[in-house]
Symmetry: C2
Subunit: 487 residues, 2 copies
């Protein structure tokens, strides 16, 4: 029987994905070992009160991810390839947070720009492979809108953005349980501009901003550009930013803002638990500190439903929520937005005075595309691909990297954070890899204080083929060698 492994569009999505996640967790936790037989479909139906087709869907999904194998006439078994994943990294241990002048931008450029060679296996890339996106459909929308465009309409929506697009974005917030008015949405040139405008709106040069350690290097570059100081607060690969350390940082340094990610962190891949998000929100309100929340990976979840951002728990408007279509739909179109709570007008004015407005045809085309059902279908497919490749990367790391290697277990997005064992050096590995046509993002670019010298960020969202696996094998063997050389 030929069965598509793509999740169906039925309302049972939640149930089968939940079941699959439960079983995957049991495998990762070692409750189910390679060779173990899974519960029969019949017993599973009875135990959970679900239909056989739901159970089959969950099993097909697990099979596609390489975690289980069907044996003819016998049932499903945990695959021999379903190794125990590497252990997770520990939280970064840091001295009490200090305030740092940021001076990373040149270093980040020199490290990352070298990675843009054609033909490189782009494990260091910040984008998924372009082949994962629905370019044909987007082109159709673009062509349709370009033909229909009323010249006047192109000028009417200067400033805060195309009204149709803002309405679609507001509707998606609403569907996720975050009622927003479309006027609360400011369209920007990608999330990077949104983040930068938000930062400008709530800070003054010389001020201090709390960032995570590790954090997205773009945040560090923004601080440097605006003459802001950084206070680095450690962030946990599973729980997110260390809340007691954050509160200490707030009381000692009186930051003008906090900048962090709560869903599928860059570079960790981590997802902050709901209770933690709520506690963070309470802390913001208590100290009246704005939070710039970078949620560009929020739609790329592997769990049953979209994890809510911190924004969802914000009753007082302290969260400036930034996202975009660049990571989940249309890279290089550069359309993002900010929903900046009480700072909306300030952000809108920053936008008007820095770049006026965002490309009108792209906004109209996205609004047109979002009219249909294609976006959710595309997202399901993309999530499925990324989840499958996450498993493949986890297994490759377990197989090829030396003992002592740790790796995060992302529940969304496409970044995995690898902590190499003692003796390994990320920058050295980066140099070696580049010379052999493999890119990676070395840990020190994610820190104002050049920490994480033994860590690397890998992208499992690229087009996965034999070269990818070979590249990971090669990275692993260089790590083995470095470890041995160190002794």
């Amino acid at each position: 029987m030929a069965v598509s492994t793509e999740p169906a569009t039925s309302p049972s999505l939640t149930r089968y994905a939940t079941l699959a996640a439960d079983i995957a967790q049991s495998i990762h936790a070692g409750v189910l070992q390679p060779g173990d037989k899974l519960p029969s479909v019949r017993s599973c139906c009875a135990a959970r009160g679900i239909s056989p087709s739901t159970v089959f869907q969950a099993y097909y999904l697990l099979e596609a991810r390489g975690l289980i194998r069907a044996r003819e006439r016998s049932g499903y078994y945990v695959a021999s390839g379903a190794h125990h994943p590497p252990p997770e990294p520990e939280i970064a241990r840091l001295p009490p947070p200090a305030s740092l002048t940021v001076d990373v931008s040149e270093r980040v450029f020199s490290i990352l720009q070298a990675s843009f060679q054609p033909g490189t296996v782009g494990l260091g890339s910040a984008f998924p492979a372009p082949q994962h996106f629905p370019w044909n459909k987007l082109a159709q929308s673009l062509a349709a809108c370009a033909r229909q465009a009323q010249p006047q309409a192109l000028l009417d929506d200067l400033s805060t953005g195309h009204s149709g697009l803002r309405r679609h974005i507001a509707r998606r917030y609403l569907a996720d349980g975050m009622p927003l008015h479309m006027d609360d949405v400011v369209i920007t040139n990608g999330a990077l501009e949104a983040l930068n405008l938000c930062l400008s709106a709530v800070t003054q040069p010389g001020g201090t901003v709390v960032v995570e350690s590790p954090c997205f290097y773009g945040a560090l570059q923004a601080l440097e550009r605006l003459g802001l100081k950084a206070v680095e607060v450690p962030t946990h690969p599973r729980d997110g930013i260390d809340l007691p350390a954050l509160e200490t940082a707030i009381t000692s340094h009186r930051p003008q803002a906090i900048w962090l990610m709560s869903n599928f962190h860059n570079p960790l891949g981590s997802l902050v638990p709901t209770a933690h998000k709520q506690a963070l929100c309470a802390l913001l309100a208590r100290h009246q500190v704005p939070l710039i929340e970078d949620d560009v990976y929020g739609e790329l979840y592997f769990c049953a439903r979209r994890p809510l951002p911190v924004k969802a728990y914000d009753r007082e408007g302290w969260v400036l929520h930034c996202s975009s279509f660049s990571k989940c739909l249309a890279p290089a179109w550069r359309v993002g937005w900010a929903a900046a709570g009480r700072f909306t007008q300030a952000v809108a004015r920053q936008k008007l005075t820095t770049s006026l407005s965002t490309n009108a045809p792209a906004q109209a085309a996205l609004a047109h595309y979002l009219e249909g059902v294609g976006f959710d279908k595309h997202l399901r497919q993309l999530r499925h691909t990324l989840a499958t490749q996450r498993d493949a990367m986890t297994q490759a790391i377990a197989r090829h990297f030396p003992p002592g290697t740790r790796a995060t277990r992302p529940e969304g997005g496409y970044f995995m954070w690898i902590e190499l064992p003692p003796g390994c050096d990320a920058l050295q590995l980066h140099q070696q890899a580049l010379s052999e046509g493999i890119s990676l993002a070395p840990g020190p670019v994610f820190s104002a204080s050049q920490r994480f010298g033994r860590c690397i960020r890998l992208n499992y969202g690229l087009l996965w083929d034999a070269r990818t696996d070979q590249a990971l094998q090669q990275l692993g063997s260089w790590c083995h060698r470095m470890q041995q050389a160190a002794g």
Copy 2:
């Protein structure tokens, strides 16, 4: 004989446009008076050594501008409507330049945002009427590129921009006598982003920047946003910035940059003479001060060929030249660029860290459009329209506004600066006009010190119809009334 008044695409463009400009100047200077007969075509051919068709083209152009009229079987005569234009404004008299903290942004927003009501006669608009642009051709290019786009190519040109587009822009610089490498061009989200990135690249918060008085309000908003102080140096409606005052400002205030326009100034419409541009360039080199040159109207010239920007005379790389397609081809596409001389890398990095890159489909489509001959053809048509409407506005001002009104004589672009006679108030006129559905840009938004209370900027690039003339008549009658009430 049905004759198109659109300039032909032949190489004689220079000659006929030169002849037309010479005659227009003679009319404006009063050498030729209404009712005077123009030289016959035959004598004109003999005197200038040009062909009859060249003379006819010049006469058709002047006829289209309302400056001359043909009388059957008799020849061409200066039209009765070819009034003497109003006198030009004097240079703003200012005390020796002081350094000012800029605090204009809110005022500018409150004044200008009220103007965006649908149905308003947009004399205050910053854009020409959208109907003047070749939307169908642009849509074709967009659709063609969207269909052909290789996904990978969409990511390859992140950062400094689409290589084809940068090549076209570099070629146009070259054709104008400014040899540039395409890598010297950084593509931005419109010229406004280019200007802001350039300003960030060469200044530090707390520094001082020289601006013109009057100047584009976007410059003042940029200074305010970046915490920079302004030194206002008066600028002449015909000669541009006052060079002795500029040198005094440089030696007394040690500015980190100068920001000005040398071609078709916003709001004055003035064109700085070549010798003045060269002297300015020498001054930059002598004092080693960067110049941010806003040249967004440079292609909209009414004279025979594109006036070179200050950039053309810059041998040492002090000029950061910014322009875009927003005013001359594709408003709301938001594609501009900076050619930043010795600051190119700094500007490119500002771009990467603030908004990463510019909408890829729009860049590809513009490159595609620029492959053809359509751009130059469109520009000729647009220049012709604007020149004709400049004349219509000059005549309307002369006819409807009270004696003592002064007006600039723009040789390009679409802005005219009107100095109202004593007793008139620009902000009061703005309020009155808005309440009757007419927008204008009152003088005080163009100054950090709220000067120019008797000046207004009018846009003659809108779609010219009976309503436009009526609106100008109404503005004139309100001015008469204000003058009488004060008198």
